[in-house]
Amino acid sequence: MPKHETPMLDQLETGPWPSFVSDIKQEAASRAKNERNVEFQIPEDVCDDLLGVLELSYKHGRTHWKHGGIVGVFGYGGGVIGRYCDQPEMFPGVAHFHTMRVNQPGGKFYSTEYLRQLCDLWEFRGSGITNMHGSTGDIIFLGTTTPQLEEIFYEMTHNLNQDLGGSGSNLRTPSDCIGQARCEYACYDTQALCYDLTQTYQDELHRPAFPYKFKFKFDGCPNCCVASIARADISFIGTWRDDIRIDQEAVQAYIGGELKPNAGAHMGRDWGPFDIQKEVIDLCPTGCMWMDGKELKIDNKECTRCMHCINVMPRALRIGNDRGLSMLVGAKAPILDGAQMSTMLVPFIKAEEPYDDIKEIIEKIWDWWMEEGKNRERLGELMKRQGFQKLLEVTELQPDPRMVQEPRSNPYIFWKEEEVEGGWSRDINEFRKYHQR
């Protein structure tokens, strides 16, 4: 018998998709049974009350959560988010229901033992409800009380070798794709760079002094599996600067049907025989591919790394050998200003330890944004307000045609007096010789 009637939540379970309502009910039932005799440190019926307050919010069309708080672990300004319910008498189990963010492992590799330890800890000291790798990328522990925070932090840092993630006006938990661990498209070791920058910027991760949130995301190739280009203030996207490697025999094997296109990913229905012209060459956004008799040719200098041809024919086409990454900046979701995708800032940089060149650029960007950014202004908004030219100035990078998204997208690049031979001054008499008044 559930503690609260939840007719509207129950409806959510009737759809064809897995439902979070069923998940919470399952956890509520498991806590009620408590087969493993866990000494719950927060109310046993926390999940029932969570369902109850959510049902009430649906009924009222308003939230019953209050905003923020001062709770945290000592010395850290992020990683814990205070959450309080504004109906504590009705739902005492969720009167205090703080969120903890936990830094996810690189590439989201787990051992089952580690997952079990996390879950056991959270059943014991929290609600048992987690949100694994939502939009923040990290492990979210949903719902505990203040006295549990330091205990959980101690257990994680001393026994699980695990740190909290970022929240608030901090560097957020850096997030990476699976990278070279399992993917042949990865142009750099995403996990190594992600780990290195996480360690280097511990102070930025845990002690908020930025105008707002700041996100790093690492994609090994332009397929962008972690969507860095849409979500990160700095997107690190793997690329290469030499030629796509072509295995002409494998190209013929795709044409002849011996190899399945897209590594067999779309075999659920019969699409007819593979047509390289229609399915690859004609879909190249820059039209830089053609067949020369039986040979596939690519004009590599026109390639924009869309990855389509490589995705369709992975055995025939491979990423180049001279690899590194592009740094794009300023992506964000709409809060103050509209949504923005990242803008190309560094077309190519080698990703080699100790990554000093990359860190130099990051720190120049931060110095500018920390000084000039308004409260709650993301980097992408500052770039729009002060201009891309200003960003180039502070990062000491030279303008490059690859930074231009399309012709005329930003015509306001001006020369400065010191960049022009002779400056702005002129001899008016000399000028008048050639130009009548």
Binding site: V80, A95, T99, Y212
Partner: protein, 77 residues
């Protein structure tokens, strides 16, 4: 500015503000008249000494004098 002087300045300026108990990092840097990175060193130390405390909405962080404004006790904790 040495640390003791900075601490004094922060406490007196933040105490003066009526009706406001939470401040952005930039407000503190302005009071200290310091570059953000230098201000951060002082602010971090003030947190360590528990002169200041963090407040977070989850997306934005702010700072307040320890004990000022709404405290966890007021939430029934």
């Amino acid at each position: 500015m040495d640390y003791a002087e900075a601490k004094e300045k922060i406490i007196s300026e933040l105490s003066k503000k009526k009706g406001k108990t939470k401040f952005y990092f930039n407000d503190l840097a302005k009071i200290l008249d310091a570059k953000p990175r230098d201000a951060k060193k002082i602010v971090n130390q003030l947190i360590q000494e528990q002169v200041l405390e963090f407040w977070s909405s989850g997306s934005t962080s702010m700072y307040g004098l320890k004990g000022a404004g709404k405290q966890a006790g007021a939430e029934g904790e």
